[in-house]
């Protein structure tokens, strides 16, 4: 039994949407025309936004770092061409929310002058840590669509050693062909990048997964890896979403990445072929990530093709270059039809994770029908590649029963959209799951805030108690002191008054004696003299 047969058995669920790949693979990769302005969002990756290094009016060279990474999970940004910084401000960016974000606007000067840069001939001589640093400084993030900083992925850390490096050339979404064309035309560069990444990871073997609907790419990659040790090209069944890294890992190695854990946990790292090619350019040629291949396709596009595009190019420029009837666009999607984002305007910039600009006409999109009640047919659970029960998730999410929703493993949902695709009642299932996830995150944050508030309240109460106790103790002390003092004073006062009384008595006695002395004997009694003497003695 071939690997494909076994893989088909391992892969449960999935759907087969119409592929629409042939439209954009007729012509080789072209070059996007230089636009008038480049609009570069500072946040084109997972993690913290980059921090701008230049101000309006500064001149920059091609490849110069214009924004530096901010923290560990972050990536720098580079000028795609030489020119002048026109401004840094809030501009609309490609995001489902339609919100604005900080962007740097650069006006190309037409000279396309590079900053000084140099590549390394022998990657193997470079220490893996230094290699990762170069990749970080080149601003390379996952070009498959997620945008995770690649240098972090290449640092497995405390996990098991990486046994298998998987190159993801599956490209399972319909319409998108940028990886296909990259593999056909630049297989040597990809394989060079593969060697570098493998060296950085110290991986034992490398597997390149390519869907069977790309025979030319399979052939090109096979030719490029011929003779290399431990590298194999493995065709995988054409089914959506075989390109999800967890599912692809299981197809190629049979290992299942445990829920809530990274692939490094089972000794696997998965990297997109486009990212691998960018690593090659960075190490071998010293070029940071400045451009990427974008598939421009859709019913409204007259000449669908793949274009090497500078980051920051407005999408409507690309569309016009491919002869698009803008009025025929019913929905402009960044990405594929299954997981892509519908954009609210056409002049949004191409960013690092823009693999496709899909100008869809109404005929190829889903019909606009209202959702019917769920008839519990189970087509959604048949289609779910993660073996979840979307039906149960839907009912519980509708009831806002967030505990039950987590009991049915909501966070294992990869939001691939296969369930919504097959639902006969036209229910937007994935949207319910996104909403439930959002609600649970908000709930978690509220809980954390409440716990923090309670801890602070408790601490405050304790502090107040403590202060009160201290004050009380001081008061007691003072009181005791006062009491002692007053007792002493009273004693002194009493002694004083006793002395006074005694003195007064003596004075009286003295006066009497004086009286006696001045009035001579008229019958003074000798007893009086004795009395005086007695008195005197009493003093």
């Amino acid at each position: 039994m071939s690997l494909t047969d076994a893989a088909r058995r391992l892969f449960r669920g999935g759907v087969h949407p119409e592929q629409h790949k042939a439209e954009s693979t007729h012509t080789p990769i072209g070059s996007a025309d230089m636009p008038e302005r480049l609009l570069l969002p500072l946040h084109q990756h997972i993690g913290e936004p980059a921090e701008a290094l230049f101000a309006p009016g500064d001149r920059v060279l091609k490849g110069q770092t214009i924004a530096r990474a901010n923290g560990y999970v972050s990536a720098p940004l580079h000028a795609p061409t030489s020119g002048t910084v026109l401004g840094i401000g809030e501009h609309p960016v490609p995001h489902p929310s339609g919100l604005v974000a900080p962007c740097m606007v650069i006006e190309p000067d037409g000279e396309d002058r590079w900053i000084d840069h140099a590549g390394h001939d022998d990657y193997a001589s470079i220490d893996p840590v230094a290699l990762r640093n170069i990749i970080r400084e080149a601003g390379i993030v996952g070009l498959g669509g997620a945008g995770f900083p690649t240098y972090i992925k290449l640092n497995p850390g405390h996990h098991k050693p990486i046994e298998t490096l998987i190159l993801n050339g599956a490209e399972c979404e319909p319409y998108i062909t940028c990886d296909d064309m990259l593999m056909r035309e630049r297989a040597a560069g990809i394989v060079s990048g593969l060697a570098i990444v493998r060296h950085a990871l110290q991986a034992k073997e490398a597997l390149i997964g390519i869907e069977e609907n790309k025979p030319e790419a399979i052939a090109a990659m096979r030719a490029a890896v011929a003779g290399l040790e431990g590298v194999r090209v493995v065709p995988v069944p054409t089914i959506y979403p075989a390109g999800d890294s967890k599912l692809l890992s299981r197809i190629l190695t049979g290992k299942e990445i445990p829920s809530n854990k990274l692939s490094a946990h089972v000794g696997i790292t998965c990297v997109n072929v486009g990212t691998t090619y960018a690593v090659h350019r960075a190490i071998a040629h010293g070029e940071p990530l400045l451009s990427r291949i974008v598939t421009v396709t859709g019913g409204a596009v007259a000449q669908p093709r793949n274009l090497e595009t500078l980051l920051g190019t407005p999408m409507d420029a690309l569309l016009r270059q491919c002869g698009t009837r803008m009025a025929a666009i019913d929905r402009l999607i960044m990405g594929g039809p299954m997981m892509g984002i519908a954009l609210h305007r056409a002049d949004l910039p191409v960013i690092k994770t823009t693999n496709c600009v899909l100008a869809a006409a109404a005929a190829e999109l889903l019909p606009q029908r209202p959702a019917m009640p769920c008839i519990r047919c189970g087509a959604c659970s048949d289609a779910c590649p993660m073996n979840l029960l979307p039906q149960q998730l839907y009912w519980h999410a509708r009831n806002k029963d967030l505990d039950k929703v987590q009991k049915f493993d909501l966070f294992d949902c990869i939001e691939c959209g296969a369930c919504s695709y097959v639902c006969p009642s036209n229910i937007p299932l994935v949207q319910y799951f996104r909403y439930a996830k959002g609600d649970i995150w908000i709930q978690e944050r509220e809980k954390e805030k409440a716990q923090l508030a309670r801890r602070r309240h408790d601490a405050r109460q304790a502090r107040i108690e403590r202060e009160k106790a201290e004050r009380e103790a001081k008061r007691q002390q003072k009181k005791a002191a006062l009491d002692a003092a007053s007792a002493r004073e009273r004693a002194q006062a009493e002694a004083q008054s006793a002395r006074q009384r005694a003195e007064e008595r003596r004075d009286v006695a003295m006066q009497q004696v004086q009286k006696q002395r001045t009035v001579p004997a008229e019958g003074t009694e000798p007893a009086a003299t004795e009395k005086n003497e007695k008195n005197r003695a009493a003093d």
């Binding site: 759907v15 949407p17 119409e18 489902p96 339609g98 319909p174 967890k246 599912l247 299942e256 445990p258 829920s259 809530n260 666009i329 019913d330 929905r331 999607i333 990405g335 039809p337 299954m338 997981m339 892509g340 984002i341 519908a342 954009l343 609210h344 305007r345 869809a360 190829e364 999109l365 889903l366 019909p367 029908r369 209202p370 019917m372 009640p373 769920c374 008839i375 519990r376 047919c377 189970g378 087509a379 659970s381 048949d382 590649p385 073996n387 029960l389 149960q392 049915f408 493993d409 294992d412 939001e415 959209g417 919504s420 695709y421 097959v422 006969p424 009642s425 036209n426 994935v430 996104r434």
Partner: protein, 358 residues
Amino acid sequence: MPLKTATSPHVKAPVTVTTLMIQVLAALIPGVVAYVWFFGWGVVINIAIAATAAVVFEAGMLRLRRQPIGQYLADGSALVTAVLLALAIPPTAPWWVTVTGVFFAIVVAKHLYGGLGYNPFNPAMVGYVVLLISVPREMTAWLPVQSLSEHPLNFTEHAALIFTGTLPAGITLDALTEATPLDALRTHLGLGSTVSDIRATFGLDEETSRLLSVVPIFGMLGGKGWEWVNAGFLLGGLFLIWRRVISWHIPAGMLGSLIAISLVFYLYDPAHYASPMFHLFSGAVMLGAFFIATDPVTAAASPRGRLIYGAGIGILIYVIRAWGGYPDSIAFAVLLMNMSVPLIDDYFKPRVFGHDRD
């Protein structure tokens, strides 16, 4: 100018509730053709009455509940309920029996619980059970196979019987109707005969049966005529599985457990317990396995849960047939298992990617 935005996915498989229901109706055709061939046009007239009544009741309830009539009528679910109910009741049933059954199915069992997707009990089976208990005489007036009947009715006579209750001159209802094979089996087993005797008596060729004035109702596998009807529904059911309208779990569970339990008793005492083949091809077993038990709204949701659900139905069918008070028991078995669906759904979760089996 801002573009329209929407959430992903932006494409859809070309399947709707309507396309599912249309395929179910199409899959019923072989069985219905066999039914008409063997038992006459009564069933088609009943289907027509039931379908009309269903549409009227559904539209009425949707209006009462202020829901969009066009969208919900077009989904075809009321039509499927009506056809299944019409297939469950005898072809001689008067029109008002059919209409009452459809009323209970659509209005009470479906809409009063919340409409499409919200009913816990299979609507067609609720309608059938209400009729069975309320008008047992009309509900047990089955016809024998036309070729064996003394008075096979043609289309007009069927229509007259159903709409006006009049029979052709000189014929009484008792003379016209005949016990079903399951009914005969039950009765005579209860009277002390053995299975082989009953089959011998009632399975004779036409000549001998005329001489003995006994209608041979047992065919090769099951009841005469009924086995072909069941075969037709089996064919339709396999078509539905191939088209992925239904999954194989419920029919497999139901037929598998029915075979298993009937095999056990048949091997233990073949004289008093009919063979698994007989059970599979008589009554409404195939209709139940592929069309009634697989009603998605009232069945279990997960694959393992569906196997358990189907198995429960199969066992209950046999238990009621062998020891219960009714000759055929699909409706009761289905309704009893409908009651246990919330429990099944709670306990039978599939193993999720990245988790151990818990």
